[in-house]
């Protein structure tokens, strides 16, 4: 298998720098670094797995120091988990995910379908649906559903719509439901939707 270093990618330059810093501080204790294809992809809230021989507080702080430096220097964000080589299960999961790029090409269609289903299921209770731009998220979510009245039944109807969409499309709808009184969350979604995080 060919190893392709994409030197124009901010993410790969960040990872290369992260690796250099880790090797400098951990030396032979560093076993491997498994990075997901880009920083917006995450698993367990992380995009990099650092594998070491011995893991203790000192090692953990050295990895933190390297991440802080990289995250200051690059637009991409290194979000890591540290583990030991004995943790075969986590290593295997990361390895598999590294070869499985996410496909968000049908995001707009997925959001459109979600809106359509919500309009049907919630009738006049639906106020608006505020999706974030493709691949962005806020509070682990990419869509805010605003309703007039929110109770358990409404919540389960939104869940039903999301399950259908997530089954049908490659993109993932991940939602929060709130009421129109929750101006703060609505405003945050509107702002996140407008601002380019990397701009």
């Amino acid at each position: 298998m060919a190893l392709i270093l994409d030197l124009r990618s901010d993410w790969w330059r960040a990872i290369t720098r992260f690796a250099e810093l880790l090797y400098d501080s951990l030396a032979d204790n560093l076993v491997s670094i498994i990075a997901l294809p880009d920083d917006l992809l995450t698993f367990y809230d992380s995009n990099v797995l650092v594998v070491v021989d011995r893991l203790d507080r000192d090692v953990s702080l050295k990895v933190a120091e390297a991440a802080l430096k990289v995250n200051e220097q690059y637009k991409s964000t290194v979000s890591y988990i540290v583990t030991t080589r004995e943790d075969g299960e986590t290593i295997e999961k990361f390895r598999k995910l590294a070869y499985l790029p996410e496909d968000w090409s049908d995001y707009d269609e997925a959001i459109g379908k979600f809106k359509e289903l919500l309009t049907d299921l919630l009738n006049g209770n639906l106020v608006e649906v505020l999706p974030l731009p493709r691949r962005q998220s806020l509070y682990d979510s990419n869509v805010l559903v605003v309703v007039d009245r929110l109770d358990r039944d409404v919540s389960l109807k939104v869940a039903e719509a999301a399950l259908k969409v997530n089954e049908q499309y490659k993109s993932t709808v991940s939602y929060i439901v709130t009421t129109r009184e929750d101006g703060e969350t609505i405003e945050k979604f509107r702002k996140t939707g407008k601002a380019d995080e990397r701009g």
Partner: protein, 119 residues
């Protein structure tokens, strides 16, 4: 089928959720309830030789795919409560925490029975 390492983590999280409920740590109770189910679902997907979805929302679809659509909805209901517990300024209510616990207990029982069926 190759046995999975039984870490006992979901059971421990469930006990923590119950304890948190008893002492009034309602946000923590909901969070631990959710992660109990998340961990169990991940184990189930692995046993069934399914790829673990990167997104939690699609993990709920694992149950839908095998005919448990109502239970899949409860996974998303629990996920929604967990987001409220962890990110929202509003507090989790006692009713919501109790609901989260019940969902986690019921889903744990279901997933365990499904897992034993894959042995």
């Amino acid at each position: 089928m190759k046995p999975l390492r039984n870490s006992g983590k979901p059971e421990k999280l469930m006990r923590e959720a119950e304890l948190d409920f008893k002492i009034g740590n309602l946000n923590k109770c909901v969070s631990a309830s959710y992660f109990t189910v998340r961990k169990m679902l991940e184990h189930l997907a692995l046993r069934m030789k399914m790829m673990i979805p990167r997104r939690d929302d699609k993990l709920a679809n694992v149950l839908k795919h095998i005919g448990y659509g109502d239970e899949a909805k409860l996974v998303l209901r629990l996920y929604e409560l967990r987001k409220k517990a962890d990110y929202d300024d509003k507090e989790i209510t006692e009713d919501e925490a109790e609901e989260a616990l019940k969902i986690a207990e019921n889903l744990t029982k279901l997933i365990k029975s499904l897992q034993s069926g894959t042995d």
